[in-house]
Amino acid sequence: MRKRVATPYMIWMLIFIIVPLVMVVYFAFTSSSGGFTFDNIIKVKEYTGQFLQSFKIGAISTVICLILGYPMAAIISRSREHVQRTLVMLCMIPMWMNFLLRTYSWMTLLENNGIINNILEYFHLPRLQMINTEGAIILGMVYNFLPFMIMPIYSVMAKIDYRLIEAAQDLGCNSFAVVRRVILPLSVPGVISGITMVFVPSASTFIISKLLGGGDMMIGDIIEAQIQGGANNLNLGAAISLVLMVVVLITMAIMNIFGDTESEVSLI
């Protein structure tokens, strides 16, 4: 019975997850003529710089999202119920607009001839180079991915039993100690899933870096160039994707182990 219910999902997973994965692996290990080869994987080494750059930008965006998102999540989870609903809604509303449109609108704001620079000029202030910088990419990522940090942390925090906080106060905690000794450790699972949900897409994005960063700074741009851009080397694109995927998986695994020991360490 249970098996039959699961069948459609299995088919869905097969078509949309397993098959594409197999195809990526297949292309990564074949040459353009179709023979088996390691050349593509070996060639990935040439892009180490972009890999590092991507992880750096991804990490910076994730940290900024965490710094902004954690207090926001805390505030939402501690407000009255209808205020909570409104605030959650406000976090989600930008996501109803298309991701591309949102990024394009940042572009028109940040461009050399964009709205911000025009305003600066109007007040006789010097123009700023904002588009095509690392800062613009990070801004775009934080803007786009912040809700993915807030939501998981919020949902974990909202579930923290209020009596635990009262118990901590009863045992001598002032507000600061309550946060440090109860709320922070109990929200670790939300933080971990928030970090995952922000870091993975921001390390591998190409749209944001292409539109706001000019295009060849991050590994996602390189992959895009191989597959539909000028470089047109499907096999190399697949190989880079595969390596990226493996590296991200390893990073996340380390994160999770770290997260587990974190909560365990605080036990001892």
Binding site: D161, R163, L164, E166, A167, A168, Q169, D170, L171, G172, C173, N174, A177, R181, V182, P185, L186, V188, S263, S266, L267
Partner: protein, 361 residues
């Protein structure tokens, strides 16, 4: 006398959303006493505890601790600890760290923490459970961690909100004994909330019976049981026969159509009263020896005694006896003067007075 009362609540009024939850509560609690707040659900027991702990501020009235006013002092600065109804143990900490929590906040040296935690573990019979996660403990074990976590801070007053409600009968009874032992050996004042009258009667030094945000009676368990002040207390503290009567004169009352000698006096002549007779105080005798004659309607075995309903001209008497009677038999009922409790008609009338205008005292 000022050193006697560790807690003093004076004219406490609490309202939630305009609804009065505590209505001019006055209560003092003496040092090292085991005081129980007893009353039906929603009568304000938890609210009273939360006032002492500092989680609720009264709209008016004073909270005194050791004769010092502590209104507005936040919970973490009050020398009281609470055992919450569903324990509220910290799920991210193991048994050891849960118990050590309060000491860590106070920056107690590690060595002392270790000594005191193991002392506590011994006290609550949980040696060897230090590293256990609290979510993997049984209800009784969690309860004992909660006790240890509160008691380790050597609070002057321990507040317990129905701490045993979630446990099964057997465990509850053994925990009652353990709690009482802990209270006596450590000399801590306990303020204990329950709606289980047996628990209250067996554990307390003083019982405070509450209803509708007001104290109905304060007294020792024997006082409360034997001399309930009104019909509510009598009914709540144990099953009772409560019937209307008329106090014809001192030491003489009429109820169920018959006159009885009693031990009460000081009522007005022919004043209507509530008469309370405990089921176990009714003696079943042969019909010609009885003051009343009744027919046995039902007889149920209750483990220790039989519970019988006897019909006497429409009055249904509940009788507890170790000897069963045959259903349908005629029996005599005898009630000794000592076992007849006369009470002023209960509070209902006072409320209707309050609603009326003019009268003020």
């Amino acid at each position: 006398m000022k050193d006697q009362n560790i807690i003093n609540l004076k004219d406490i009024v609490v309202e939630f959303d305009g609804e009065r939850v505590l209505n001019g509560l006055n209560l003092f609690i003496r040092d090292k006493e085991f005081v129980t707040l007893l009353g039906p659900s929603g009568c304000g027991k938890t609210t009273t505890l939360r006032i002492i702990a500092g989680f609720v501020e009264p709209q008016s009235g004073d909270v005194l601790f050791d004769s010092k006013k502590i209104n507005g002092v936040p919970p973490y600065k009050r020398p009281v600890n609470t055992i919450f109804q569903r324990y509220a143990l910290f799920p991210h900490l193991n048994v050891y760290e849960n118990i050590a929590f309060g000491l860590r906040i106070n920056k107690t040296p590690e060595k002392e923490i270790k000594e005191r935690v193991s002392e506590m573990l011994k006290l609550v019979n949980l040696e060897g459970f230090e590293k256990r996660s609290v979510s993997k403990l049984s209800g009784g074990q969690q309860q004992r961690v909660a006790i240890a976590r509160a008691v380790i801070n050597k609070p002057k007053v321990l507040l317990l909100d129905e701490p045993l409600a979630a446990l099964d009968l057997k465990l509850r009874q053994s925990m009652q004994l353990e709690l009482k032992k802990i209270q006596q050996s450590l000399g801590i004042t306990f303020v204990y909330v329950t709606h289980d009258q047996e628990e209250a009667l067996s554990m307390s030094d003083i019982i405070v019976v509450m209803n509708n945000g007001e104290i109905q009676q304060i007294g020792t368990p024997t006082d409360i049981y034997n001399e309930p002040k009104n019909a509510f207390v009598a009914d709540f503290i144990g099953e009772s026969n409560i019937i209307d009567g008329v106090m014809n004169k001192d030491f003489y009352v009429t109820f169920a159509g018959v006159g009885f000698d009693c031990v009460d006096k000081g009522f007005e002549e022919n004043q209507p009263v509530d008469v309370v007779v405990r089921p176990e105080d009714i003696k079943v005798v042969s019909p010609d020896e009885g003051q009343l004659v009744a027919t046995v309607e039902s007889c149920i075995f209750k483990g220790v005694h039989y519970e019988m309903i006897m019909d006497q001209e429409g009055y249904k008497w509940m009788v507890h006896s170790t000897k069963a009677e045959n259903v349908g038999d005629q029996v005599g009922i005898k009630i000794l003067p000592d076992d007849i409790h006369i009470m002023n008609k209960s509070k209902v009338e006072i409320y209707s007075d309050d609603a009326g205008e003019g009268e003020n005292n």
